[in-house]
Symmetry: C2
Subunit: 431 residues, 2 copies
Amino acid sequence: MKMSKNINIAVIGLGQIGSYVYNELNIKKKDIEIKTGKKIKVVGISAKNKNKKRKFKINKKIFYSNPLDILKIKNLHIIIEAIGLSDGISKKVIETALKNKIHVITPNKALISKHGDKLGELAEKNKVNLEFEASVAGGIPIIRTIKEGLATNKITKVYGILNGTCNYILSEMEKTKDSFVSVLKKAQYFGYAEPGNPKLDLNGYDALAKIKILSSLAFNKKISKSNCLMEGIENIEFKDIEIANQLNFRIKLLGITEIIKNSIFERVHPCMVNKDSYIGNVSGVMNAVILNGSPIGESVLQGEGAGPGPTSSAIMSDLLSILRGNIKFPFGITRTKRQKPKIFNKDISSNSLYVRLEVKDKPGVLSSITKIFANYKISIQRIIQIPNSKKKTASIVIITHDANELSSQKCIKSFKLNRNIIKNPVLIRLF
Amino acid sequence: MKMSKNINIAVIGLGQIGSYVYNELNIKKKDIEIKTGKKIKVVGISAKNKNKKRKFKINKKIFYSNPLDILKIKNLHIIIEAIGLSDGISKKVIETALKNKIHVITPNKALISKHGDKLGELAEKNKVNLEFEASVAGGIPIIRTIKEGLATNKITKVYGILNGTCNYILSEMEKTKDSFVSVLKKAQYFGYAEPGNPKLDLNGYDALAKIKILSSLAFNKKISKSNCLMEGIENIEFKDIEIANQLNFRIKLLGITEIIKNSIFERVHPCMVNKDSYIGNVSGVMNAVILNGSPIGESVLQGEGAGPGPTSSAIMSDLLSILRGNIKFPFGITRTKRQKPKIFNKDISSNSLYVRLEVKDKPGVLSSITKIFANYKISIQRIIQIPNSKKKTASIVIITHDANELSSQKCIKSFKLNRNIIKNPVLIRLF
C-alpha cells in the first residue's frame, strides 16, 4: 500500500495502555509530523465500556462499540490493538486488519507468543507491518535492537528480568521484610500487578511468553510450542530471601534462552544471583535484558518494563517505523526461512541448587535427607540448619553442586513423600 | 534512487575496522540476503598501502589507490568510509559520494561531530542515507535507539562512559595499582589505545565528539560548536584512585549532556562516582549510556564500546537499514527543523569537588588553604591529610559542598600560584 501524507489510525481497547496511547497520539501529532512528514489522525476508537471514567478524555464521536466495525472505515491505515487477549476478539481484529492491508501495532505478548508465526505470515503476504516492540520489556527497545541494531550478529544467549511485577515483589519483600501476600496487595494497589488475576505474572507465564518471542527473533526460528521449564515466584517466602541475603545472593525471576548443541533451551524460574552481579542489582519494576553475541560480545539493556508510559513509548516507536515506510518482515527474516526450533531436552540440563526443607527437629532427619540426595547422585556443597525451637522444627538449607535436572525433580518428589518434611520443599536454581 | 536487487559496496580504508568489515561483508552475504532480499557485492576497496600485512586477505583486483576513483564505479550504491580523519580525504570522499547519490556509512565520530550537519543536509538533499551508528559506543545501538526506539520521548539527559580506552586505563590502574604510564603502555599493547597518538582518547576529545553527536540526536538540535567543559584523565594518579576507593568512590571519565533551562550543557570530565552505583561498576573497555526521558523513565544500555567486532556490528546494522530501504533523515528529523542549540553557561554550573593538593608539610599551610577556599566561597565538607614524612610533604584531600564552577576554577588557579603547593592541584568533580 502506497502511503499517503495523511494517515488514519484507530485505537482498539482503551484500558490503561490504550487510553494513554490515544492521548499521546493527540499531543504528539506535530512532533510526529516533523519526524516523519506524515499527518496522523485518530479516526476510530473502541472499548467495552464507552462511558467508563478514564484518565484521558476520549472523543465519543469516533467511538465504535464493535471493534470490527472500525476496520470498515475507509482509508484506515494503522490499528493499535490494546485489548490484550491471547485469542478471541484480539486475534480476530488483528487477522481482519492484516487481511485488509492495515498495519497492526500491538503490545500483546500473550497473542504474539501464541499466534505470532501465523499473524506474521499474514502481514508478510499482505505487505503490511505487524509490530510488537511493546510486547517485551516496554521501555527497552529490545525487539528493534535484535532485528536492526544487532542484525548481523550471531546471538547465542538472551536472558534477563522480564517481569516487572515479580521483580517489584521480590525487591519489596527484601526491603520491607513483608510477606509475599502483603507485598502483592501493595503491587496491586500501585498498579504494578493485575488487580483481578495476577497469576500469569506470578507463575512465570508472562516472562515465558516474552522469552519465546525473544528466542524466535534472536535465533531466527519459529516460536517454540514446547513446554519449557516454567516456575513462578508464588512459593518464595521471606525466609528464602533472608537466607539468600546471608549467602550473598538475591532471588530474581529470570527468563533465559540459549542455544545448546543446536537446540534451544528456554526457561523461566527464580534464580539465586550474586548480590554483586549486575543482574542482582536491577530492582523494583525495572527490566533488564542481556545478550551474548558475536562479534558484539555482551550487550546489556535496562529500563522500565511495564506501565503505560514505557509501553506507549514502544508503541510510538513502532508507529514511527511504519510512518517512515520501514516495511519489514515481522520477525526480521522472511517466513520461508524461519524454521521450527529444535528443543533442548531439559532433563539432561544441570544446575547448582538451593533447596530449603522444613523438617521435624529430631535425630536422624538430617542423615535421612543427605542420604536421599546421595541416592539421586546429587552432591552437597553446603548445608545450613536453622532450628525453630518453639515449634520443634528446623529449616534445612542445602546448596548442591551441579545436579542433573531429572534427578533433582525426582529427589524433590521423594522429599514430598517424606514424613519428616512438613512442608513442600523450596527449590531455587543458582545462576 | 530505486534500489535494485544487486547492491554494490565499496570499503574505503582498510585498517583494523575497515578490514574487519570487509571480511564480514564477504562471510555474511547469505545471511544478509535472507534478512533483506538483497545480494551484496564488494566492488571496490582502497587503502594507503596495498601490500600491508592484514589479518584478512583482500582481493587486490578491486583495489584502488585513489579512493576518489572508487566513486566513479558504475552502479556503486554504498560506501563504507573507514579512514577516520576529521577532514581531508575522509570528508572529500563522503561529500563526493553523497553528491553522486551513493549511501554512506561511517564510524568516524571526529568527522560527524565536526561536519555532521552539512553532510546530513547533503544526504537529505540527495535522498540517500548517511549512517553513523558506529561513531558512538560501537557495540551499543544507541543512535538507532534514540532515533527509532525512543523516537517520541522527550529526552532530558544523556550520560555515560563513552571512551573504552579511558575506562580500561582507570579500571586497570585500580586493579593492578600500576601507574598511568605503564597501564597506558599495556592498553596500547592490547590495541585498546592508539599506538601512535592516544591523546584524543585521553584528553576527553573523543568522548566529547560522541556527546555532541548524542546531544544533537537526543535534543533534535544542530551539533554544538561551543567549547564545552572538556577534561581528560592524563593527570589522574594512582593516589587519587586509592583515595577514591577509601571514600567509597571510583573515578570514571563521564560524558554528560542535559537540558538546563532550555540550554544544552555538554561536558566531559573525570567524575567521582559511587562505588555501589550502576555506572561505578561498568569496568574495562565497556561503554554504558544512560538516558532520562518521558514517558520512558530511565533507560540503560551497556556493551563493548570499541574494537573491530563491536564497531563492525554497528556498521552492519547501518548497512541492513539501508538495504531494507529505511531511508531516513540522518539526524532523525529534517534539517529545516534542526535549530542551533542554546549553550548553557558553564560558569554558573555548580558541583561538589574532590581536590588533592601536594603541599610542604609545615605549620600554617592547612589554614592558608582553607582560607583560599573560604575566599572563593567554597565550603568544605570533608578534609583528609596524608603525611609523607620522608619527603616532608603531605597530600591534602578536600571534598567540598556544591561549588560554583567559575569560583572553583579561580580557586584552583590561585593554588597554582601558592608556593606551599608543590604540584599542580588535582580536581575531580563528584557525580
